[in-house]
Point group: C2
Chain length 309, copies 2
């Protein structure tokens, strides 16, 4: 059985060390001295020959030289990614969705947009939302229950694993709030007015995932992530049902069912962190029953050394 | 008016940089390679002449050489601190309470105990608890209210400032839970059975405070801190009352009263972080209304580069 700290390690495997001493390169854009992501050598090897890029071995930077506006930079990186697709450089690009994620610079300003599936090639921060719908404990002292989804087995990443009630990436043009409204509807058939009225922001988790075999695509690609967390109390009569082909089924689980499923590593890694954070916020995992309580809490809110949204 | 990020800076002013490049020394004990705290040059200057200590300028370490057990190390450091008191080296030692705090090493093992008021001389992590008692929003859609204390003006630190409902340090021999039980009783007259039944652990915040004028004693001493946070829903009829001379009075405030008091910097710095964390957990401060939302969340759970409890 996995400990809670093992579960954190699963989704937060990036070492707390200087990235260049780990052999990584710093992704930047011309005219901006801020590092936007970390690039691994196998990606550098390809970018080195792409037009519009420069590599400085001494500074260990990989700079997108083309473009001075958001639109120009986004078009330039899209061109690079499309060329990579054509040459079939990376299997991760088979996940092309024609949906972009924004990359932020200083002052929360967007620097460029990158095709979603290509983000791990540049090691940029991506943003997601997770909604945990729960039936509050009844007044007669029963237990709280939580709506947990099982991902469709056909999904390209983490098929068949347990997940939050609804979750999704915050794509370009979206906000965390707009994203939860449509994800709750698409994934769990939850009406937007109920979500809008009752969903409560409850913080965020941040972690630095090193992609492994389960995530599909190349192993070792870097994925620093922020998950905005929302809680949604729902009446006991309400039933979450799949509304698209992303979810196989829903289950209404007790807190102890979830603690056991976490220990069996049945949750998708980043969703496991969201669940663990929920358990800490609700006094299920405490300093009395978890020896690594403080370490887990700081890891779940890890500082990412990039400008954030 | 202070922004939420200003409030974080007030209690988390230590730079995210290598401590030795900041001119600091690493506090260690003989036989253990782990750094337990950071020592500033004015303290080093005194320790250099104290028996039982060695300084390595190249490694920038200050090592307590005396003692091989918890008891021996604790006695050795107590002797050093008493000698400092006698010579009146540091005004912070006027706060002597004859109460110790444990310092943890790898594997959550206690390495030694240090007199409470002397901890900032060695820059070791200290642990506190904060309880936020609140009257939940009534079903007819009223607002939640929170019991906030005002510190006695006579207190040696942060006299007259606003504070959580009850708070205190986790002294040697105590646990977070045992500490909240007695602090809730001593500071707010809350009966232990109510606290034991209803208090819910809700996580912890971690931050790195650089002592300033308001904290009394020498400016610039270092205080990495963990605050275990508990929430305590209380019935609307219950009244918090001071039970010792540490608290001047209690007020039952709305969330917006508290947001305003935070912006006026009326809260004690670390209690302000606890309140801010509460506001984030309860969906008052959100990504929609706080541009530095993610930065604030990671700062409130800052990684401290020492072994933790």
């Amino acid at each position: 059985m996995a400990s809670n700290l093992d579960i954190v390690d699963d989704a937060d495997g990036f070492p707390y060390e200087d990235p260049t001493s780990q052999g990584l390169y710093l992704f930047r854009v011309a005219g901006l001295s801020t590092t936007l992501g970390y690039i691994i050598p196998s990606v550098l090897y390809i970018l080195r020959d792409c037009p519009g890029w420069s590599v400085d071995e001494e500074q260990r930077t990989v700079v997108l030289e083309s473009g001075q506006t958001i639109e120009e930079r986004s078009a330039a990186i899209r061109k690079t990614i499309l060329a990579m697709c054509e040459k079939e450089c990376f299997s991760i690009l088979k996940g092309w969705r024609d949906e972009t994620f924004p990359v932020f610079g200083p002052g929360h300003e967007i620097v460029l947009h990158i095709e979603r599936c290509a983000c791990p090639l540049f090691g940029v921060v991506t943003y997601g939302v997770h909604v945990i719908a729960y039936v509050p404990a009844p007044a007669d002292d029963g237990a709280m229950k939580i709506w947990v989804s099982r991902r469709a087995r056909s999904k390209q990443t983490f098929g068949g694993m347990l997940d939050s009630t609804a979750a999704g990436g915050v794509a370009s043009g979206e906000t965390p709030l707009s994203t939860i409204l449509h994800e709750c509807n698409e994934e769990a058939s939850l009406p937007s007015d109920l979500v809008r009225r009752n969903a409560k922001a409850a913080g965020a988790i941040t972690h630095f995932y090193v992609r492994d075999r389960r995530s599909g695509g190349e192993v070792g690609l870097l994925q620093p992530e922020c998950q905005y967390v929302y809680e949604l109390p729902v009446p006991s009569g309400l039933v979450c049902k799949p509304n698209d082909n992303e979810v196989e089924a829903f289950q209404l689980l007790t807190v102890s069912d979830i603690v056991e499923a976490l220990a069996r590593r049945e949750f998708k890694p980043n969703s496991a962190l969201v669940m663990l954070d929920f358990m800490i916020r609700h006094g299920v995992v405490t300093s009395e029953n978890e020896k690594d309580y403080l370490e887990i809490i700081t890891r779940l809110h890890r500082r990412l050394d990039f400008p954030l949204r």
